[in-house]
């Protein structure tokens, strides 16, 4: 009896497998013909994925626009591998290295140690890391890694200026993803910007503890808006999407509040309630585009710590300025010039911010 | 002459085991036909074949003389075959009428016609003298009544051949009497009945003919008027049955169990044992008679250390074991055949072998330094299986898959083998067939002969009268009287159990 059942099962499997094989063969024959030694650039996302409306997405946009300009194909010329958990970073990076990608980016400082290890194991590979500096045991930058960092404090300062000039309640908020040195650059730059143009303004700052927790972002936003803040700078990746949700809800109920977006121009995300005041754009796409371009030209910036600031067009305020007043915009431009020419240094750490405040008075 | 049911040469095989081997069953129109056999003889398999739950590997089924294929219970129902299951399939929260019409509701304009349903049920109930109130909820009526509801369900569906699966197992003696009357009335109205049972008494009271099966085979079909209980029992067991009697002389030795002024609370914190005194000697069987719920369970649990003693003392072999841990009491010399063998006596998902060492697994020779000696355990299990005639394919078989009688044998084997000074047997033969009862009674008597103390708790007066050297009657938590079984009878015990002492005074 058992045999009979097994036979039925086996037959079923065989039939299905052959059907699948049939379909498969017809397809696979076409795709295997890719040219050898063509330039390939790849990136490994963190667990957020390429559609996180933020960081990973911006990086991928950089690669795709590079591909477009250079006639590379998505999926072969430029490609991303998505990680579903932290332990996937290393195999994903390794895979691309083994497949001889000309450059492989690790998107985010969470991949720092994996990048470092793989760079040391594969000295010939070209790697890039965003928001971190890859170093060896002696704390020296690794020769085959391009470390891409941003002067987020500068961009944050500018949106701080906008917030300081726009707030009616004189209360603004900052929501960060995870409390870290990197996010502190956002926070302190923003606070400095607000205080510079609006010394009376009160600033609430809080960290959600995660980049992928929209529910928490929303809860914190709820508290801040209720306490009277009318603008929140959401610098928290996917967590920031919760801030948008809360702002939109309030807008629907007739209470106008603003969100300042981060990383990308998040104007569209504020629609249709139109809650995005402006966004601090971090041009990860620009940086990736630049580094990839240099690599293709044979000038891979290995061992260098690249800093993208206002000057390099690596950070800034979003191109969409519909909701920003003319006065605010011109003030922003004034400060932008000062920062670029070096007459204004934006604080990055809590200590620098304190000193900055002291000098303001 | 045509039969209501004729099953010819039925064979049903499960992987490796022949449950029914060439069985022929012929039920005449309008008779009560007993299907008689031990647990596991193949009665249920045969009935499941008839009811369409199993397909026979061989053989044919004729219903009212016509050959039929019964693929599922719906076919069976269509042919007028109805089964009154041992475990009722009723919805507690529904009324009797609702339960009966469930699945075949009378409708008026597409809407359930409850009034009509009640009327139909009432009519059926009156016709067969079932005396059921259609409007009562099932949860509010007695088990006996629930069974009648099950009977009504089959009648409502138009069955004229009714199968009763061990219907008396859950009933009180009075309810059994009433059921037999109902069955006779059903037959009087032209129905045919198959009664599955292993109780001789019922067959002789109710049935016209009887088919005996043993180990999957037909033994014989006889008219009840042509046979007697001893012959039938021998046919079922396959050998001469010896009704065990406690014939060893009563020779009490030293006190083994001494209970003084015992007070115990039940789970609701109500006094269930009140100032109870009891002594059991080596070399005697002390039977405790009483109506269920008079403190028997709590008394045993208190002795075994499973229930806290509020007041008083319990001594085993002069060791004070009051409120000691169960393991300590076991080690002091307690053996215990619990009332609920499946819940308390066995780990059903353990193998027979593992169950054989449930209290001794940590001791030499079964274990040393915390490591089990599985070989020794297996050897012991094999020995006990043989010694106590446990019918199991091997010691590795799960206890769950044994029949009730064999499960009980496992427990008895385990407890007796430890050779405890005091053996408590609570309802040791409930639900077992003659062969197993005979065996277990024999073992209890054997223990007595060895000089052990046996405390027997049973609701079956026959059993108590048969086995005990002394009978203690428990009533509302204390021993109302201790009588000599030779000088008493069921009537006197019945009165004592109801709380009346000799001379008619209320205790």
């Amino acid at each position: 009896m058992f045999k009979k059942r097994m036979a039925v099962l086996v037959a079923f499997v065989v039939v299905l497998a052959s059907v699948l094989a049939g379909c498969g063969n017809s397809k696979s024959s076409g795709s295997s013909a890719t040219k050898k030694a063509a330039f390939k650039a790849g990136m490994v996302t963190d667990t957020g994925g390429v559609d996180d409306k933020s960081f990973n997405q911006s990086a991928w946009e950089g690669l795709t626009s590079f591909a477009k300009d250079n006639g590379l194909k998505k999926g072969s010329g430029v490609k991303y591998l998505q990680s579903t958990q932290a332990s996937d970073y290393s195999p994903n990076l390794n895979t691309m290295v083994h497949q001889n990608y000309d450059i492989v980016y690790g998107i985010g400082f969470l991949m720092q140690s994996d990048i470092q290890k793989i760079a040391q194991q594969n000295p010939k590979a070209h790697l890039g890391i965003i928001d971190a500096v890859a170093v060896d045991k002696n704390n020296k930058p690794l020769k085959n890694v391009a470390s891409i960092t941003f002067k987020e404090q500068q961009g944050s300062f500018l949106v701080g200026v906008v917030a300081g000039l726009t707030t009616k309640t004189n209360k603004v908020g900052f929501i960060g993803g995870v409390n870290s040195a990197l996010l502190k650059k956002f926070e302190n730059g923003f606070k400095a910007g607000v205080k510079t143009v609006n010394p009376k303004a009160e600033i609430y700052a809080q960290y959600a503890g995660a980049f992928d927790a929209p529910d928490k972002g929303r809860a914190i936003a709820q508290t801040m808006y209720t306490k009277g803040a009318d603008i929140i700078y959401a610098s928290a990746g996917n967590t920031g999407n919760g801030v948008f949700t809360e702002a939109k809800n309030r807008a629907k109920n007739g209470k106008k509040v603003w969100v300042i977006g981060v990383d990308k121009d998040q104007h569209d995300q504020g629609m249709p309630e139109n809650v995005t005041l402006t966004s601090m754009v971090k041009r990860v796409d620009q940086a990736i585009y630049d580094v990839t371009k240099q690599t293709k030209a044979g000038k891979f910036p290995g061992g260098k710590v690249l800093e993208f600031g206002l000057k390099e067009n690596g950070v800034g305020i979003a191109p969409t300025t519909d909701n920003v007043s003319k006065k605010a915009l011109s003030t922003v431009n004034d400060y932008k010039k000062k920062i670029i020419d070096g007459s204004l240094t934006v604080p990055t750490t809590d200590k620098e911010y304190k000193e900055y405040l002291a000098n303001l008075k | 002459m045509s039969y209501a049911i004729e099953m010819r040469n039925i064979r049903k095989e499960f992987p490796g085991i022949v449950a029914n081997d060439d069985i022929t069953l012929q039920v005449q129109e309008g008779e009560i036909h007993a299907l008689f056999g031990e647990n596991g003889a193949g009665k249920s398999t045969l009935m499941n074949v008839l009811f369409g739950l199993y397909q026979p590997d061989q053989g044919e089924i004729y219903v009212h003389g016509k050959k039929e294929l019964i693929n599922d219970p719906n076919d069976a129902a269509r042919l007028g075959i109805g089964m009154v299951h041992q475990h009722f399939m009723l919805i507690d929260k529904f009324t009797v009428a609702e339960n009966i019409i469930l699945g075949r509701e009378p409708k008026k304009h597409g809407v359930l016609d409850m009034a009509k349903a009640v009327k139909i049920v009432k009519k059926l109930s009156e016709k067969y003298g079932l005396d059921v109130d259609p409007n009562q909820k099932v949860e509010d009526i007695t088990v006996g009544m629930q069974q009648r509801v099950e009977i009504l369900k089959t009648l409502y569906r138009g069955s004229d051949i009714l199968i009763f699966d061990e219907p008396t197992a859950v009933l009180t003696p009075i309810e059994i009497k009433e059921l037999i009357e109902i069955m006779k009335r059903l037959v009087g109205e032209g129905k045919s009945i198959i009664l599955i049972t292993h109780k001789l008494k019922e067959i002789f009271e109710a049935c016209d003919r009887c088919t005996v099966i043993r180990r999957g085979r037909n033994i014989d079909t006889v008219a009840i008027t042509d046979t007697n209980p001893n012959d039938l029992a021998s046919m079922m067991v396959g050998r001469k049955v010896n009704i065990q009697v406690n014939d060893a002389p009563y020779d009490p030795k030293e006190k083994v169990l001494e209970i003084e002024h015992l007070n115990v609370l039940d789970s609701r914190k109500v006094d269930v044992i009140k100032d109870l005194n009891l002594t059991v000697h080596g070399g005697e069987i002390l039977g405790i008679a009483g109506v269920d719920g008079n403190g028997q369970t709590e008394l045993i649990e208190a002795i075994a250390g499973l229930r806290k003693v509020k007041d008083g003392s319990i001594k085993i072999n002069n060791d004070d074991v009051t409120n000691q841990k169960t393991r300590k009491i076991i080690e002091a010399g307690l053996g215990y055949i619990p009332e609920d063998r499946q819940k308390h006596g066995l780990v059903l998902d353990f193998s027979v072998g593992e169950n054989m060492v449930l209290q001794t697994y940590y001791k030499k020779p079964y274990a040393q330094a915390g490591i089990l000696h599985n070989k020794v355990i297996t050897k012991k299990a094999k020995q006990l299986i043989q010694e106590f005639d446990v019918r199991t394919p091997s010691e590795r078989t799960l206890a769950r898959s044994l029949s009730g009688g064999n499960q009980q044998k496992v427990i008895v084997a385990r407890e007796v083998d430890r050779s405890p000074q005091l053996l408590i047997a609570a309802q040791p033969t409930r639900g077992l067939d003659i062969g197993a009862i005979e065996f277990i009674h024999g073992k209890l008597i054997e223990e007595k002969k060895k000089g052990k103390a046996v405390l027997l708790v049973s609701f079956e007066l026959d059993e108590i009268l048969h086995l005990s050297d002394r009978i203690a009657v428990i009533y509302e938590g204390h021993i109302i009287d201790i009588v000599d079984p030779k000088k008493t009878d069921e009537n006197e015990l019945g009165l004592l159990m109801a709380g009346r002492k000799k001379g008619g005074s209320e205790a």
Binding site: M1, C23, F109 | P15, T326, K328, G370
Partner: protein, 354 residues
């Protein structure tokens, strides 16, 4: 009767196998519908794992915590308890092992490595003991308390790292080499994968579960209590103590799983903002492995293979990694609906007789 039993055993074995096959087939169908090539996808999984040492090594590495988590769940399950808290026990084990390694970094390897592993196990044990105590003393259902303990573990470890062991990159410093399970030998053998000596620990754990449950008196007791607390009580066993013990042992296995991540795979602990998922996958591993030691090894291998292979599937066949998650979910779904499979086979066999 026994034959019926044997039949049931066959059936139970059949369910996981059929579930895996069905899961893969359904995955293939989904790929076809979306327009990917399932043959290429599965081929890339098999080829990478069996032909490329790197992915083979990564698979075994991924197996280590999965096996330990699976053993933890299976062990508790065998004793009648449902340990949903493996995730939390794993996190505290991870933290404790890393913290121990960092705090005592001057000790030599022979002391520090075993000590750090033990610390992980001990932390897991504590995290299992608490729900055990709650159940034994106050009858708090272990499913509820272990879930709560998961959250406590997640936030406690994050807090502790942030305040005491913080370093750049949202994590603890890297552990000293003296506490590391990583091995250049194994890495070289597997083209630089993160395979580490933790697999020895995992194998020992599998053996320990088998030996402990089936060869010792304690295991006998634990299983008896798990199957039937009533009968065990009547046989003189201490049911409460066994419940506590069982969850404690289960916690040890889970804690070791965490230690393997801390001392082997990562060499540090990140501040987790969400659960790692290993503990929950452990439930699936145990379920698919029928809660047997060998079964856990096999299903652990399957899950690890799918996870690692999922990444090559992404890079070779272009199939999104989410699909692997769907396949895993489908397999679990089919195991969970084993009743349906049994029923289907029952139908099949009956039809055969007509």
């Amino acid at each position: 009767m026994s034959r019926i039993l044997k039949k049931i055993n066959w059936m139970t074995l059949l369910i996981p196998v059929v579930s895996v096959i069905l899961g893969l087939l359904c995955g293939a169908v989904i790929m076809l519908i979306i327009g990917y090539n399932p043959v290429l996808a599965y081929q890339s999984i098999v080829e990478s794992i069996f032909l490329q040492p790197y992915y083979g090594g990564e698979t075994i590495r991924a197996m280590i915590p999965l096996m330990l988590a699976g053993i933890a769940v299976a062990f508790a399950f065998r004793t009648g308890l449902f340990n949903i808290g493996v995730e939390g026990q794993l996190l505290v084990g991870w933290f404790a092992s890393v913290a121990c390694a960092i705090c005592f970094d001057h000790l030599p390897k022979v002391i520090l490595l075993p000590m750090s592993i033990t610390a992980g196990g001990a932390a897991g044990a504590l995290w299992g003991f608490i729900p055990g105590l709650l159940k034994a003393r106050f009858k708090v259902h272990e499913v509820i308390s272990t879930i709560m303990m998961n959250y406590i573990a997640l936030y406690t470890t994050a807090y502790l790292i942030k305040n005491f062991l913080y370093t750049e990159g949202e994590r603890t410093p890297t552990i000293p080499a003296a506490a590391s399970l990583a091995s250049t030998f194994l890495a070289d053998l597997t083209q630089g994968s993160r395979l580490h000596w933790g697999f020895v620990v995992a194998i020992i754990a599998v053996f320990a579960m088998w030996f402990g449950l089936w060869k010792t008196t304690k295991g006998y007791e634990l299983r008896a209590v798990g199957f039937s607390p009533d009968a065990s009580k009547y046989a003189g066993m201490n049911v409460s103590r066994n419940i506590m013990l069982s969850l404690t042992f289960s916690g040890i296995f889970a804690g070791l799983g965490g230690a393997m991540e801390g001392l082997g795979t990562y060499q540090y602990m990140t501040i987790n903002s969400a659960f790692t998922g290993i503990g929950f996958n452990g439930i699936a591993v145990a379920l698919l492995g029928l809660n047997t030691p060998l079964g856990v090894v096999l299903s652990g291998a399957l899950f690890a293979g799918l996870q690692t292979g999922g990444m090559t599937m992404q890079s070779e066949a272009g199939v999104p990694v989410e699909l692997i998650q769907i396949i895993i979910a489908l397999i679990i779904f089919f195991v969970g609906s084993g009743y349906v499979i049994k029923w289907a086979f029952g139908r099949l066999s009956r039809k055969g007789h007509k």
